[in-house]
């Protein structure tokens, strides 16, 4: 068996995952490479406490799915972020169920982050302006936006992560940009630019 340390430096993610099919323990090198980054993303989405659980789950799921990894992608980050997105969503769903139960006791304003505690974590950490803009988005739109803005994925990588064609991502981003522009600018459809005429 090849030691994790020897494996980790030389191979790209794809080769590493390929090797882990025969040598499962070498998968740990993938954890060593990307765990901090996935944890950061999870912490931004769900807060530090949940992020610990989420990160562990992401790599366990990834390990079990390693045989289906598309070797055409040398970088495993989009794949890991895709798994992370679904794990985050699962937690969000659990949070929301609990919230709906709580809401009967203490109704909260609909249509705001207050309704969803997991997302509220995100909101609390953000500037009010950005948090407000996020409220204008659906959860799926937030997933896409934050994969691009926080995980720095390209459109193609975001498509891979979300399991949709890149054309779909482009189309969604097209609409998302308009939404975000409106939400951020409110009365300024031209983003940050100064008025063109009069």
């Amino acid at each position: 068996m090849v030691g994790v340390q020897e494996v980790s430096e030389a191979l790209d993610d794809s080769a590493l995952i390929g090797r882990s099919r025969d040598d499962p323990e070498s998968f740990a090198a993938l954890f060593d490479r990307h765990a901090d980054e996935i944890h950061r993303y999870a912490a931004r989405r769900l807060g530090p406490e949940l992020a610990e659980d989420v990160t562990g789950e992401v790599f366990l799921v990834a390990f079990r799915r390693r045989a289906r990894y598309d070797p055409a992608w040398p970088d495993a980050r989009p794949w890991l972020y895709g798994i992370a997105t679904r794990v985050v969503a699962q937690h969000r769903r659990a949070e929301r169920r609990r919230n709906h139960a709580l809401a009967k006791v203490s109704p909260e304003r609909p249509g705001t982050f207050d309704e969803r505690s997991a997302d509220r974590v995100t909101a609390e950490q953000l500037q009010p302006r950005l948090a407000k803009a996020l409220t204008a988005l659906s959860a799926a739109e937030r997933d896409l936006l934050l994969l691009v803005a926080w995980a720095d994925l390209t459109y193609e990588e975001a498509a891979l992560a979300l399991g949709v064609p890149v054309g779909t991502v482009r189309s969604r981003l097209h609409r998302l940009r308009a939404k975000v522009r409106r939400a951020l600018g409110g009365n300024d459809p031209f983003a940050a630019e100064e008025p063109r005429h009069g």
Partner: protein
Amino acid sequence: MDEEFKEFADGRPAVPPYPPEARFRAREALMREARRGRGLRLPRFGWQAVAAFGMTVTLVGGVAVALSGQNGQSPVAGSSVTRAAAQFFPELRPRPGQFILIESDTMYASFQAGEDGEESRHLYRTHRKIYRSVDGSADGLLYIEGRPPEPWPGRELPAVAHDWKGSGWNRLASCPGRMGDQRDDYAYLSGLDAAALRALIRRDAPPGKADAAQQAFDAAAELVRESYLPRAQREALFQEIKAIPGVTEADGVADSAGRRGVALGLPASDGTLRQLIFDRGTYSLLGERATVVDARAAEAPEGSLLAHTAQLNVTVVDRLPEVDSPDGDDSCEGPAESASPAPTETAAPAEDAPTEDVPTETAAPAEDFPAAEPTPIPSESRPEVPAEDFPVDESASPTPAGPMPTPTG
């Protein structure tokens, strides 16, 4: 990265580092799993959980919204009311290569958080002209002109409401060859029957959830707003929206130009009833309206209007107007898609488009168009979702089935 997203990127929250103990535990769990090959019981995830939270919040996409007629405080009315809808919305015969031009007046809610975190609200108004390629083969253009803002009902007009004045042009990237089944151009949509349109508006809806209705309603609104479709598709979409659970129909609802039509409305989580107002005879969208039905949620008096629009004109033009350096739209940029046919990049419209709007009534019979331009959906491979890893969530129930209208035409 787009300017809109960059602001989020720059604003990403600082988070504490992965605690070493937690990191060690996670790695050990992974190693145990690796040694064992299998074993640890994990929570099971629904793949579609990602989409299951499509709850619509507040103001959606600039748009949207609508409201019921019984409140009667529509600010409008005028001589234009007497014009028949057919005058506003004649049956058109757009051909590939042409552009559909739609002019509209809009009023939507603006929420802004200032430096101090203090939120201000008002209603912003615009006049819009949108040019979209008939077959999605070329970029479009959008002109937006600011109109005097209105105060949020029950509040004073904030100073920030006056920050934006003037007008400007935006290029609308078309991304030909890359849209796949996300296409929303005339050529593509005019080839869809009622069942396909229904699948289209419901495809992103989380099954069996209350949010599913809102998602479908919003998706349908996206298709009819600033859009022109053949009558068969207009009527089919009308019927599909009407079939969405919770949607109510109301007659005599006025758009912001004072024209009355039949409204299909759905209460939204922002405390408003959102209505899409259609001409009864042609199923053309007249406008939208959002009326407060829950004062607490909306933070505005019940019955007040938070959105009101009117689509004023729909015409077909041969080419785009000449515009000096419109604001860009780089949403088609990025690495080429490997799995699908090479994208066709089109020239930016501004530089080589000759002169003014040239409204042209074309002579081709409407029926010819869909047949002449089948516009196949590019097939793109979707990653396989192994059922054993991401089983369907047990709590999810099938999308409610509604009556299926028969397309006419």
